[in-house]
């Protein structure tokens, strides 16, 4: 009984390591595939459109509402201490350091990551991937690499847009509705936000998130069991693994960047 349980744990561990190794090899092969700029640039642009541009609406609407909620909540608390002029600082630091990269990444995983997995999984189940291979075209280069790079490029841009729209939403609520003096709202923000500490660290975070999300998404799609059930499971796995990875990685990155370790 105990031995059987041990054996099961062992075999699960081995298969986890195998998958992890396979996904590492897969990443390596896609990244270091010699890019053919003339052929691949249009593919990259197409993917940036479907991965990035198509995610704009959800990112902007969510950023707007999160900014407004932050301003409301922040104002409530800050007025207790008579320091509502610090609202701009609170909102901008929260968004740039944390909420911008993290929430944008979670939305990106749900919107674009799941679509990538399902698309690649369906290409596999309809033999399009095998078809590419037999035509003599490496699917890692043709299908995976442009999607991967599109994700890495789009994620930081989306996170910045998220934060900007959020700050605008906060100013609408804080300044125009709740009556915080606009001079102190913006001046406090300017004084406290450091480009290298806050903006840049947020961008670095979102690049890391973009890397992890698209890696998980394209690998799950490529590795899926080519059945309708398999594609469903792979899509779910993408969203779950990517979300957990974002949150875990965020803690580590925050500790390194802001933890004064």
């Amino acid at each position: 009984m105990v031995i059987q349980a041990l054996r099961r744990i062992g075999s699960k561990g081995v298969s986890f390591l195998e998958t992890f190794g396979a996904s590492g090899m897969f990443l390596f092969q896609s990244l270091f595939a010699m890019p053919n700029v003339r052929n691949n640039f249009p593919l990259l642009v197409k993917q940036i459109y479907s991965v990035g541009v198509m995610s704009l609406i959800i990112i902007m609407v969510s950023g707007f509402f999160i900014g407004m909620v932050l301003a409301l909540q922040g104002y409530n608390i800050l007025t207790r201490y008579g320091s509502e002029q610090a609202l701009g600082q609170l909102v901008s630091l929260t968004l740039l350091r944390e909420l911008g990269p993290v929430v944008a990444a979670l939305l990106f995983a749900g919107r674009a990551g799941s679509a990538l997995t399902a698309e690649i999984g369906l290409m596999k189940s309809t033999e399009q991937i095998a078809g590419l291979e037999m035509i003599g075209v490496d699917p890692l280069r043709r299908v995976i690499a442009p999607r991967f790079w599109a994700g890495v490029i789009c994620m930081p841009v989306l996170a910045i847009i998220f934060s900007s729209v959020g700050i605008w939403g906060a100013s609408l609520v804080g300044v125009d509705w709740l009556g915080v003096y606009s001079g102190s709202f913006w001046a406090n923000m300017q004084d406290s936000v450091q480009f290298s500490d806050d903006v840049l660290n947020g961008v670095i975070k979102s690049i890391a998130f973009g890397f992890v999300i698209t890696w998980i998404a394209v690998f799950q799609g490529y590795d899926t069991e080519p059945t309708s059930e398999g594609i469903g499971q792979a899509t779910t796995r993408t969203v779950v693994y990517a979300s957990l990875a974002i949150l875990g990685l965020d803690f580590i990155l925050t500790a390194v960047m802001f933890g004064d370790l």
Binding site: T126, E127, E133, M134, G136, V137
Partner: protein, 270 residues
């Protein structure tokens, strides 16, 4: 001429397992250059698997698969892709790229493997589509085609580069009688005109026998018969006879291996 000059593909002592199930046990095959070789056999004998082994998408558990003198499992990724650009494969499902039109599907191999100017690509694509009778369907998307039409587009794509080897996986399935006649003729014509090597995987006995130069019949993981269509059709081997003439009773089982029907029914639900 030595054997290796004569044969485009040589399969020796090939053994292949899928999980625990034996697909092939020490199979030997020769596919001669410039000929049409058919691989036939009942469903589930791994005919498509053979094409995938030849194309290097699967690796044998033991034995050698040599294409044009190169042992496929030993090739690097780059060498394998270079070799594949000289092969055309018609997939059972067609495997068309669903995000681009019929025209772009056929143009795809030309675009990635050649530097031809656009007007020449257009001419080649239209010629290939004309050959399969779908020149007028060039602007349709793959999801607007019927199964048979999709397969004819895939056929046009497989021959777009005039490859040295064309593998047809069930080219006749789903074709109406007119299209069937045309496809049968087309495969023969292409093979003779372009001098390439063709492999047809099929279980349409009459059509395949009418154009093949040589037939291998696979069953139960081994070659149960081979020869010219005439030899195979008139063989005395009971297994071959049953398959080629489509007789319901004989040594080739219709049922997937299972225990006795009576026992199975009486066993009840556990």
């Amino acid at each position: 001429m030595s054997d290796s000059d004569k044969n485009f593909i040589e399969v020796r002592d090939l053994t292949f397992y899928r999980g625990d199930r034996v697909i092939y046990q020490n199979v030997n095959l020769d596919i001669p250059k410039g000929k049409i070789t058919a691989i036939m056999g009942p469903s589930g004998t791994g005919k498509t698997t053979m094409l995938r082994l030849i194309g290097g998408q699967l690796k044998p558990d033991s034995g050698t698969v040599k294409v044009d003198g190169k042992h496929i499992p030993n090739l690097t990724r780059k060498e394998l892709f270079a070799l594949r650009s000289r092969m055309g494969m018609l997939f059972q499902s067609g495997a068309l790229f669903t995000d681009v039109s019929v025209f772009e599907n056929v143009a795809f191999p030309l675009r990635v493997h050649t530097d031809l100017p656009e007007d020449m690509i257009r001419d080649v694509v239209l010629m290939k589509l004309h050959a399969v009778g779908l020149r007028g369907a060039r602007d349709l998307m793959p999801n607007e085609l019927s199964g048979g039409m999709a397969r004819r587009v895939a056929l046009a794509r497989a021959i777009a580069l005039d490859p040295d080897l064309v593998m047809y996986d069930e080219p006749f399935a789903g074709q109406d009688p007119v299209a069937m006649g045309v496809v049968v003729q087309l495969i023969r014509l292409l093979n003779d005109a372009l001098g390439h090597t063709s492999i047809i995987v099929s279980h349409d006995v009459a059509e395949t026998a009418s154009i093949a130069d040589y037939i291998y019949v696979l069953a139960d993981g081994e070659v149960i018969g081979q020869g010219t269509p005439d030899e195979v059709l008139h063989s005395d081997s009971p297994r071959l006879k049953q398959f080629m003439q489509g007789l319901p009773d004989g040594p080739v089982p219709f049922h997937f291996p299972a225990r006795d029907l009576c026992d199975d029914l009486l066993a009840g639900v556990k």
